[in-house]
């Protein structure tokens, strides 16, 4: 704050000079910012286009529709179809949502309405820390602890429900779509609950207090005010969680069992788009194999842009466009 001492005498410098100096300063400032912004926008744009160009031989050979809906992935015969992996991505992500959304909503309600005010921040940080654990560490734990621990549960479901519905049937080898879905659920709880928490915290205080004043319980507040008002924001949080789950790579790769075929049961091994890319990339030596994996990446790119775009659109329409939490 010794700057003031360095200010020029007012009359040593005409107003015109001051203006010109400010003008050139601002011009340089703007120019630097513009160059950096244009450069990064262009670089990222070029990178996206570049990945589509790298994938184009595969799209040309099988057609976009043919590649996306193709059920066979056989690198040694130069046949590439993405459907098994799209199926795996959707199945594991939806499973993760089924588990994570109710838990996240309850956590958000706990942290906005139920917990004592002084506990809310520390409890919130604990949930946020779940998001800080690196994916590969979840994978390591999932592979060595979670998968073996869930085997009795899986066998139980496969032995009872699975006798009637093949979707829940054997085999139950451990690594499976189911295991991947559970790991993903753990990983998306922090993001879904953080966004939901913010939505719930912004519901009008007066309405909540009105319900309490009428003799309503905390559950009545949640049921008649928080949940109905927060519905759109909750939807945005769910879609955002879906986007996260679809793109998670390493933890899923370590517990999904790695199979190129569609498993009929939720307990069979499979692949997601992200995990097949991570798993096969460094050994992709067959004709068109690397290009096909890049093409899978472009499919994932399009899917996640659509899903995240939907989340942003929902949020902007209903919550007035606050960015925080994303």
């Amino acid at each position: 704050m010794t700057e003031s001492a360095g200010l020029p005498e007012p009359n040593a410098l005409g107003l015109g000079g001051l203006r010109r100096r400010r003008w050139t300063g601002d011009l340089t400032f703007r120019a630097v910012l513009s160059v950096l912004t244009v450069a990064i926008t262009a670089i990222l744009g070029v990178m996206m286009v570049e990945s589509f160009i790298s994938a184009s031989p595969v799209y040309q050979k099988f057609g976009i529709i043919g590649f996306v809906t193709g059920g066979t992935w056989a690198p040694s015969f130069t046949v590439y179809g993405a459907w098994a992996f799209i199926y795996g991505t959707l199945l594991t992500s939806l499973l993760a949502l089924v588990i994570a959304v109710p838990v996240s909503v309850l956590i958000a309600l706990l942290l906005t309405e139920l917990a004592p005010a002084r506990l809310r921040a520390p409890l919130g940080i604990a949930v946020d820390l779940l998001a800080a654990v690196p994916s590969v560490v979840y994978g390591l734990w999932g592979l060595l602890v979670l998968v073996p621990a869930m085997r009795p549960l899986e066998q139980g479901i496969a032995g009872t429900l699975g006798r009637v519905i093949p979707f829940f049937g054997p085999p139950t080898p451990g690594s499976s779509y189911f295991a991947a879905g559970v790991i993903l659920a753990v990983m998306i709880v922090p993001i879904v609950s953080a966004v939901t928490r913010e939505v719930f915290a912004s519901t009008p205080r007066l309405q909540r207090e009105a319900v309490l004043a009428l003799g309503g319980t905390r559950w009545d507040v949640a049921r008649t005010v928080t949940l109905p008002i927060g519905r759109a924001g909750l939807l945005a949080a769910v879609v955002l969680g879906l986007g996260r789950a679809m793109g998670e790579t390493i933890a899923v790769t370590m517990v999904i069992g790695n199979s190129d075929n569609i498993g009929k049961s939720i307990f069979s091994p499979g692949f997601t788009l992200a995990s097949v890319i991570a798993n096969e990339f460094n050994e992709a030596t067959e004709t068109l194999h690397p290009e096909a994996l890049i093409a899978l990446g472009t499919v994932l790119l399009v899917m996640s842009v659509l899903v995240n775009g939907a989340a942003i659109a929902i949020r902007n329409r209903f919550t007035g466009g606050s960015r925080s939490g994303f």
Binding site: M47, I53, L110, V127, L129, L140, L214, R218, T249, V305
Partner: protein, 294 residues
């Protein structure tokens, strides 16, 4: 729904009170359920990894060429992680801040385009970022490198830094912004010597959270820095990183030695990531406290 308030809020019956209690219990149960994995993961990694970390050799030796052999450490991975993340920070922070300031100070179509791209990037799977850098840098250069890995990590960090910086700068108190104007400060001067210093702790928090996210990334490095069993400081060489080392050793977890190495490296990685994360959050919390006491 609101029309029959009387029926919704009849005098609190035993049934409604029971429902309310059940709701509280369920919410608490959900919270505990969510924390079980956190405690289980941390406890498991700590118990299995702490003995590796207690020996200094683990930090200053490189791993043996054969994953199943005993001894050795993770020096190459630790240095690789620090070097690549450091370089990524040097790339991502100036660009991220520039885009944030541009969006606020200049605005217009270009700013909207850039911000849209950053939003897209924020939701993009990190493995896709790895593919971007692979097709445009690794293929062009003809080899994997630590530099490519740094670029991928920088792209992962960029949205975190930009979004948080923009949010903080938008929160500059109006009287202070007007004061800067009234003093006749040029806009660039106002940004650099008033707005940025005021929001500094928030901006630093954003950077630290970005760093903590980038440090734990594995997926984008598979196609860019690849990994390297040997120690190198040269960013033009393939470079090892802690997440890559954990991943490769975990896939060979049939060998007790590989598994132990993965545990030690995982504990080290968790400590580094949580360190950055908690320091970042602490800065923001302190700022909030200071703000509320005013």
């Amino acid at each position: 729904m609101a029309s029959d308030v009387a029926t919704v809020f009849a005098p609190t019956s035993a049934g409604r009170r029971r429902k309310a209690r059940l709701f509280v219990i369920l919410a608490a149960a959900a919270f505990i359920l969510a924390l079980i994995p956190l405690i289980a993961v941390f406890g498991y990694i700590f118990v299995n990894g702490v003995h590796s970390l207690l020996s200094i050799d683990f930090l200053i030796q490189d791993p043996p060429a054969d994953l199943s052999a005993t001894g050795g450490g993770v020096r190459n991975a630790l240095i690789g992680t620090l070097e690549m993340t450091g370089l990524a920070t040097l790339i991502a922070v100036p660009i991220g801040l520039a885009v944030a300031v541009f969006a606020i100070e200049v605005g217009g179509g270009l700013a909207r385009a850039a911000r849209f791209l950053i939003d897209v990037l924020a939701g993009l799977p990190s493995i896709v970022v790895g593919i971007f850098v692979y097709t445009s840098v690794v293929v062009t250069q003809g080899h994997f490198s630590g530099l490519a890995g740094s670029l991928a990590l920088a792209i992962v960090m960029l949205p975190v830094v930009t979004v948080s910086a923009e949010e903080i700068l938008r929160l500059t108190p109006r009287p202070i912004a007007e004061g800067a104007r009234a003093l006749g400060l040029a806009r660039w001067r106002a940004v650099l010597s008033v707005f940025v210093p005021i929001g500094l702790s928030g901006i630093v928090t954003g950077i630290l959270l970005g760093v903590s996210r980038a440090i734990g990334e594995t997926a984008p490095l598979i196609f860019t820095s690849l990994g390297n069993n040997f120690f190198t400081l040269d960013i033009n060489q393939p470079m090892q990183a802690l997440p890559l080392l954990i991943y490769r050793n975990a896939l060979n977890s049939g060998f007790a030695t590989a598994r132990d190495r993965a545990f030690g490296a995982a504990l080290l990685l968790i400590i580094i990531v949580f360190g950055f994360n908690l320091v970042g959050r602490w800065l923001t919390a302190r700022r909030r406290l200071a703000g509320s006491s005013r």
